[in-house]
């Protein structure tokens, strides 16, 4: 089953009418002056035929796609603000040896290599900006080993996130990182972006659950890491590197024991600011919740119209609370949270009746972005983090920024982690709105940084945010990251033009290729 193709229908609704023009920016959403900054690896004509021949020679015709019609779905991900860029070839390897061969062939032809999971990324991280070879893992999607006794698993990068928890379930185990995309996104993609999810609040992000990585380096050699190895924590540095340091071909992950008891509640408030103050109060009181999610009015109304999950339509904001643990802890934790909620003037406080309603509330929360189609032709989801106590300020600022740009904004976010996800509604056929969305998005990021926050909590930097990375870091900080890349990807062949600002990258490319 082709995971990327599987996702395409979900995307088409908000991508309708886009013109595809190979190798060139077709969208006015490109960063100004971007074209000049792209160093060209690419050579046309006979050389590409040579690439296809070499790949087919080693991997066989059914593992290589080069026909333009076959390449289209690999030209974009779930980021609505980026233009497509077609790869020169797509490879669907069956095992690590085929990945090694692909890397060597791409290197021989001087082409970049872009790894791709399910294409659910939201920052253009898998768009092959310079063409080259996209490696997709639909065939490397198995659990290689499920070690119940030691609560760990070895998986291939194309394994769908949810499938891991489904496999662990009968043994009382689960895989904790649960991005909203978990029904489609892959563990390999999750490793690339250090994916989070609502339950990070209690369990941490992907990096806290990866025990080791097997990857293919720039020479096409296999390298294995483990967090138990002595020396520098290479495993930790690979997680969140967005495919720029090598091609991950297997991942050892930690599984956790499923909690004995789980309760889910929904509290309604007048405003999103009050809801976020409640989150601070719960955390400040030392209560351990497994998830604290806020949904604002715009999003509640969209979600309920779509899913009928039981969220209170008309409320200014709802707080979705999950507590999990041992049976003995539940009553005390529930009472403590209920008291905080009441003292902040909640409009309502409702417990999920049964596991089915709990699931319905979660399904609607995780599918929130999908419900936006009912209220806007397009949306642009931003991802930023602030220290938890700055949430009310950040939300007020986001509201103001949206108003200044005459945009509607909806918020559905991981409040317990201070991780904001404003969704800016727009119609991509209106040039003014498109520009306004981009400007507002950048302003939101700047505001979050000023509050001591950062420009990505879990989606990554990808292609979209790379110019804003320099708002977070000094030239020295970026140069240090560049040293890491010098070691693992000296030719900047792995997923080029991602994460780092174009100026910095160009300079480094020149240096390292000299």
């Amino acid at each position: 089953m082709d995971g990327a193709a599987e996702c395409a229908p979900l995307l088409r609704g908000r991508r309708g009418g886009r013109r595809l023009d190979r190798g060139r920016f077709t969208s006015d959403l490109a960063f100004p002056g971007e074209e000049e900054h792209i160093p060209r690896f690419r050579h046309f004509g006979t050389m590409l035929q040579g690439l296809a021949d070499d790949l087919i020679d080693v991997l066989g015709p059914d593992a290589v796609k080069t026909a333009p019609a076959d390449l289209v779905v690999y030209g974009y991900d779930a980021d609505t603000a980026q233009a497509e860029h077609l790869p020169d070839a797509v490879v669907i390897p069956r095992d690590v040896r085929e990945v090694c061969a692909t890397v060597r062939i791409a290197k021989k032809h001087g082409l970049p290599i872009v790894p791709r999971g399910a294409g659910t990324g939201l920052c253009g991280g898998t768009i092959p900006v310079q063409g080259g070879v996209v490696v997709t893992f639909n065939r490397m999607n198995r659990i290689l080993e499920l070690d119940v006794r030691n609560r760990r698993a070895r998986v291939q990068p194309g394994l769908i996130n949810l499938d891991l928890s489904l496999a662990g379930g009968p043994h009382g185990l689960f895989y904790a990182p649960d991005p909203s995309s978990q029904k489609a996104s892959t563990i390999g993609g999750n490793v690339a972006t250090n994916a989070g999810g609502p339950h990070c609040l209690s369990y941490g992000t992907t990096t806290n659950h990866v025990l080791g990585i097997e990857f293919v380096d720039d020479d096409g050699e296999v390298v294995r890491t483990s967090i138990d190895d002595p020396g520098y924590d290479l495993t930790g540095a690979l997680v969140g590197s967005e495919g720029t340091l090598g091609i991950v071909t297997a991942i050892d992950v930690r599984l956790m024991r499923s909690p004995e008891a789980v309760r889910v509640f929904v509290a309604a408030f007048e405003t999103v600011e009050v809801a976020s103050e409640v989150v601070s109060a719960i955390i400040g009181a030392g209560i351990v919740a497994t998830a604290l999610e806020i949904i604002d009015k715009v999003m509640i109304d969209a979600i309920e119209a779509h899913y009928h999950a039981g969220y209170p339509v008309g409320a200014g904001a709802v707080l979705l609370v999950e507590i999990a643990g041992y049976a003995e802890e539940m009553n005390a934790n529930e009472a403590a949270i209920a008291e905080i909620v009441r003292s902040h003037g909640a409009l309502s406080w409702t417990a999920a009746r049964d596991p089915a309603q709990r699931e319905a509330l979660w399904a609607a929360r995780k599918g929130a972005a999908g419900a936006v189609g009912r209220i806007s032709p397009n949306y642009y989801i931003q991802d930023a983090c602030v220290p938890r106590t700055r949430l009310p300020d950040a939300l007020r600022a986001i509201e103001e920024i949206a108003r200044d740009h005459r945009l509607i904004v909806g918020n559905v976010f991981h409040a317990g982690d201070g991780n904001l996800h404003p969704l800016l509604m727009f119609d991509r056929r209106e040039a003014r709105q498109v520009q306004a969305v981009l400007d507002a998005g950048t302003e939101i990021l700047r505001t979050c940084i000023e509050m001591g926050g950062t420009i990505s909590g879990e989606h990554g930097i990808g292609y979209e945010k790379r110019e804003t990375l320099s708002l977070c870091y000094s030239a020295d900080d970026l140069a240090t990251m560049g040293r890491v890349r010098d070691v693992l990807d000296p030719a900047r062949r792995f997923n080029p033009n991602k994460i780092f600002p174009s100026g910095a990258m160009c300079g480094e490319v020149k240096t390292s290729l000299a």
């Binding site: 138990d228 930790g236 540095a237 982690d417 909590g457 000094s474 900080d477």
Partner: protein, 416 residues
């Protein structure tokens, strides 16, 4: 400047620097790098027994004055401190607000947070909470050329560029100096409890089998043999269970009931409960990991899966018998760590036996490192086992970050 901590590999030619802040520390590194002098970093000196002695140590740099509380708003559950802050000070600072960071390291009154991370030290509570590195959300490091460089931040979720700080975890000061450390904190558990039970060998396997099915899991579950001066409880000849619980009173009480019933069913006669001194008793256990018996002991650590820790324990027991050495050991059933301290009657015997002993142990157990022992005992035995498969990348990182080999040359695995 006088020696700040006693360490074996400094010598008369070693000078000491105790920089007041990160800039001053970076400047010391830059000068060493320019002059071709070799620099070795020190926190509290508690884990200097990890790693090989550096090939040279012209300047010993102490981070102990980089001990400031830099940022802490308890409502954010994040804290930024200088790398030289001791674990005790860190714990006290957080504890005042009902928070903690689950880091188990020996001698927290001297051990620094930077040193603990740089040593890659891990303890039993990671089975429940994850490793110290999992709490590291941001760093500032000083590189060999004097560059001060930051990554991460003060938020608990962050995917902005490479997580460079992770590379300094386990670096033992060979890649640069951690100078600022940002951590995420947790609400402190309401209460804690230690349970200890002597475990006759006949009941060992059955007891551990029963314990692995408990509904309420202990924070730590260890099987201890010996360490009679260091760790609470007595084991007769055959070892004892050491369990540490953290949580709400109701949960800890339920856990205790389940434990007693499981051990009773396995034929374990008696369980001792410590409530008053549980935290101290737990810290004594942690201190034991690196404790030495004068110049007569050598301590090895074997990493592996929890599922085979008892098998490895039995292997270690048989090696101790073969070499006629007495053995103190900790088998961490939660994490798979195995600590084995071999003790002889005198320095000569253990020094003579140490090289073949380590070789024999390495033949039978993988990932075996030396974590404690007097230099007289360790001699020139390599602390590290065979290098990991990623050694080529580790070497290349060292070369790129410290091209002149200024920082603690030879300290790390593979001679890095």
């Amino acid at each position: 400047m006088k020696a700040v901590v006693e360490v074996p590999f400094t010598n008369a030619g070693t000078s000491w620097a105790v920089p007041e802040d990160a800039q001053a520390l970076a400047a010391e590194l830059r000068r060493c790098d320019a002059d071709g002098r070799k620099a070795v970093l020190f926190g509290g000196g508690t884990l200097q027994g990890l790693g090989n002695p550096p090939r040279a140590c012209d300047l010993a740099i102490s981070t102990t004055k980089l001990n400031a509380l830099i940022e802490y708003d308890p409502r954010d559950l994040t804290i930024a401190v200088g790398a030289g802050m001791t674990l005790r000070t860190l714990a006290n600072t957080l504890g005042k607000h009902g928070q903690f960071v689950p880091i188990d390291a020996p001698h927290p009154e001297r051990a620094t947070i930077g040193g603990t991370l740089a040593a890659g030290w891990i303890g039993p509570r990671r089975a429940r909470y994850g490793r110290p590195r999992d709490y590291l959300i941001g760093t500032t490091v000083a590189l060999a050329d004097g560059t001060l460089s930051s990554a991460g931040g003060m938020v608990v979720k962050n995917v902005t560029g490479y997580d460079v700080g992770k590379l300094f975890v386990g670096s033992l000061g060979t890649l640069g100096a951690l100078v600022r450390i940002n951590l995420k904190a947790l609400p402190a558990p309401q209460t804690n409890r230690v349970a200890i039970a002597s475990l006759p060998e006949a009941t060992r396997e059955r007891a551990l089998e029963h314990l692995s099915t408990l509904a309420v899991e202990p924070t730590c579950l260890l099987f201890v043999r010996g360490f009679s001066r260091e760790i609470d409880g007595t084991d007769g000849l055959e070892g004892r269970l050491f369990l540490y619980y953290e949580g709400t009173q109701a949960v800890v009480d339920r856990a205790t009931r389940e434990l007693r019933s499981a051990l009773g069913a396995a034929g374990v006669p008696e369980t001792t409960i410590l409530d008053q001194n549980a935290a101290r008793s737990y810290q004594r256990l942690i201190d034991a990991y690196t404790s030495t018996v004068g110049q007569r002991s050598l301590t090895l650590r074997s990493h592996g899966l929890p599922g085979d820790v008892l098998v490895r324990f039995i292997t270690i027991e048989s090696i101790a018998r073969e070499y006629k050495l007495s053995l103190d050991a900790i088998a961490d059933v939660g994490t798979g760590d195995l600590i084995a301290r071999f003790v002889s009657r005198d320095t000569e015997t253990i020094s003579y036996l140490a090289p073949p002993l380590v070789e024999a142990a390495r033949e039978r157990l993988s990932g075996l490192t030396i974590i404690a022992g007097d230099p007289a005992v360790r001699g020139s035995i390599d602390t590290w086992d065979a290098p990991p498969p990623s050694i080529g990348k580790l070497r290349a990182l060292k070369e790129r970050f410290d091209p002149r080999g200024t920082l603690a040359p030879g300290r790390l695995v593979g001679g890095i």
